[in-house]
Amino acid sequence: MGETGINSEKTGMLSSGKDAPCPGPACLDLVVQGKKIHYHGTRNVLSLLESQGENAVYANVRINGEVLRRRDFENIALNDGDEVDFLYYMGGGARRQP
């Protein structure tokens, strides 16, 4: 059942599962930015960000509604069913230090 194409545009660590659950213990069912995905990578927030091609410096991360602290990205484990949102600092702004 379930296992469908690999999302090759990102890093190949994700497969889009339509609505089917993960086929085995090797992957996690996550909802990332409102989309259901099968995640095969290392189970922490930093790895997920990187697998999505996101820059951990720009993105804030919320799991199940809770905003995470940036310094915890590497230590926070992902669990089956987590809903993950990336919230980006936008506002141009932060001019580089000379």
């Binding site: 905003v67 949102d85 506002g91 702004g93 580089r96």
Partner: protein
């Protein structure tokens, strides 16, 4: 009855015919006052639509002058305006579109010492700044003064918008507690921005303002909408009030205005 002339009734007929707006809604627009901070990428479309819609009193805070690199997205200014103050250029365009409105030009930089006085003159605030110190200053001041604020930002192919009813709904700090470290998030000048993305997001800001004034619909409170032009997708994130928020939460640690120092004091805040 309504204090609208024949000419105004014709001009706003496509509003007035909307049963949710009507003459009463148009009168509310005429009686309203809105402050737009920044006459740049976001401020341009927001100001144009507020003017066209007949918002009776609009303020512009902007201390920058029009530069040739602005014109790719800051559509309220024209090539002939290069070198002129943006606040003046914007207000002239607005009055050409709609001579029935009053426009204030605040050609100054917002600081913790002048922001309360300026925002107090208006009912709703629109944030169209491109720098984090001013963005946090505006958020905190609007929470403290219980002002309605339509917050937004853009970068590259993305935009973000969130409406805030000061001290009643989630504020910008409820989601983005502190500014990013200086130098980590690039400016539009460094990272670029697709011009029309400013149009999408600034127009959404104007839409929110018109809804708030007329009472039509449901504002984007306690929600954050991210726009991704790359895939042409909107992603809404629920953003309820954060009890740990330093400015509007249960144990407030920010009780007076702070101005973050991004070291470039000599560079006036300009608009995205």
């Amino acid at each position: 009855m309504f204090n609208l002339s024949e000419e105004e009734i014709l001009r706003y007929s496509r509003h007035i015919i909307l049963s949710e707006v009507g003459g009463a809604g148009q009168q509310k627009l005429k009686d309203a006052s809105v402050l737009v901070i920044g006459a740049g990428g976001l401020g341009s479309p927001a100001l144009l639509y507020l003017a066209a819609a007949g918002v009776g009193h609009v303020g512009i805070v902007e201390d920058d002058i029009v530069d040739i690199t602005n014109l790719q997205r800051q559509i309220i200014h024209t090539t002939a305006d290069v070198g002129r103050p943006k606040a003046r250029s914007a207000s002239e365009t607005m009055k050409q579109i709609n001579p029935h409105i009053e426009v204030d030009e605040h050609q100054q930089r917002l600081t913790k010492d002048n922001i309360f006085e300026i925002i107090d003159m208006y009912g709703i605030i629109v944030d169209g700044v491109d720098n984090f110190p001013t963005r946090y200053l505006v958020n905190d001041a609007c929470v403290m003064k219980k002002k309605k604020l339509v917050e937004a930002g853009i970068l590259r192919f993305m935009g973000l918008i969130m409406s805030i009813s000061g001290a009643e709904t989630a504020c910008y700090r409820c989601v983005f507690e502190e500014p990013p470290p200086p130098g980590t998030v690039p400016t539009c000048a460094e990272a670029g921005v697709l011009g029309a993305v400013a149009g999408v997001v600034g127009t959404l800001q104007a839409t929110e303002v018109l809804k708030m004034i007329t009472g039509v619909g449901k504002p984007l409170y306690n929600r954050l909408l991210q726009f991704d032009a790359d895939e042409l997708r909107f992603h809404e994130v629920k953003a309820p009030r954060n009890p740990k928020c330093p400015v509007c939460g249960d144990n407030r640690t920010i009780t007076e205005l702070v101005e973050y120092d991004y070291t470039c004091e000599s560079q006036a805040p300009s608009s995205p």
